[in-house]
Amino acid sequence: MSVLLIAEFDQQLKAATRSAITAATLLGGNIDVLVIGHNASAIAQQAANIQGVTRVLIADDVAYVKPLAENFAPLIQGLAVNYSHVVAPASSFGKNLLPRVAALLDVDMVSEVTKIIDASTFVRPLYAGNLNATVQTAETIKLLTIRPTGFEAAKDASQAAPVETVATKGDQGLSRFVSENIQQSERPELGTAQVIVTGGRSLGSAERFEELMAPLATKLNAAIGATRAAVDAGYAPNEWQVGQTGTVVAPDIYIAIGVSGAAQHIAGMKESRLIIAINQDPDAQIFQWADYGLVADLFDAVPKISAAL
């Protein structure tokens, strides 16, 4: 048994990569972390310092500055034949990349793994998390994307694993990076925040969303989330969306403010340890999922709460 784990990083190794490493330790065997990038030796060193990592492989090429699946996939395909498992986080990075690798290897994969039963048996959600499927793969090379909320982030080790360089495959000439618009924020990242405050459409406008949510988030050192309805109404940017098609989160504390509790939203947050809901509507679905619920006027309650904390 041996695992090739595809690292995701920006300036730092992403927390989702650490969660995937924890999942990989449950498969048994060695774990080689593959860092694909350009001038990313600092990232490789971070990966080498994580508990459970056997070896770090670094593939350095100017074609790997941005994670284009067309360029990354043939490299992973070439290395994968030496492993029983290829694992990546089920982030937009891993979800874009790993199915391409799977098809190059002519294998079916298992995506969004939330639980590892044994090295070939996994649990993954269906129907927006309304059902859980236990699936088994008989593929020789097993490809998995790991839902980060299902696994703790792996911690640093006392000793560093060796770092080795692997040959690259260069630019496949199929795609080109043009630009990106990544929101820089002082707040914690949504996918890995300990506390999240999420606003729904009943906040009524972008201004009121900001007025109510920002002071509370600052007090609680929380990330801000939004429902699809709030995003579609223009109250919050797309990348704040929590749900089946947005970010799936499982923080320690999830505070839903003016959130009705549509199934697609619940799918993205129901694994949170503690759920607190505030809503004007006593019949809102969100109360069925909340550990603590308060029926109140948001515009009265939320500023009072922020001021009192």
């Binding site: 067309e70 079916d108 236990t134 080109r176 630009s179 990348e239 098609t245 109360f287 709460i305 904390l309």
Partner: protein, 249 residues
Amino acid sequence: MKVLVGIKRVVDHNVRVRAKADGSGADIASAKMSINPFDEHAVEEAVRLKEAGIATEVVVVTTGAANAQDVLRHALALGADRAILVETADHLNSLAAAKVLREIVKREAPQLILIGKQAIDDDAAEVGQMLAALLNIGQATFASTIKVVDGKVEVTREIDGGQETIALALPAVITADLRLNDPRYIKLPNLMMAKKKPLDTLALADLGIDTASKVTTLNVAEPPARAAGKKLNTIEELIEVLRAQVKVN
């Protein structure tokens, strides 16, 4: 430019799906079925490309039983020109679904292939990427904006933390996110016209591909319910809960 759109018939997104009592799968025998919402966005985008004079023909394809004709008719009513049903009673996993689409691409030779980013039944989000790999062409997943210029396509993608724009040579595969567009409402005359548009049926067996999968489902179950919560009566009680649970800045 010909555009091919892959669509899937799934349980309607408003239906709360439950597990079969024996755990063998989802209990969907009597559920209302619809076109996968992400695929509807893909069809709408293809039709808009045609209305903008960029696409010349929009062909929709699905794999499924004879009753999957209803989602093809829906796509034709949205404005697609022609439909193909690859008929089978079997459930296909992602790789097999991608191989079916590869065969259709070989026959139809489209310049652009659009498909939803995921189907809301198995939530796998794999087929588009697999198809692009099988065809050795570029892929743009989770697309929110598509611009076709000078034989290339520029796509803005929804990624964690923001958006990214990439350029792909054609042909290419694009998977549609919800923000790509708002699908139009279908008017009765369009529904009538859709009935007259061509719909060809192929037997899956005639495509000559191996659709067996090594990934099998052992059990399907509903997740454990959360314990009943506590109703708070005052803002002060909620503040107490927060003080006890969260470290405040």
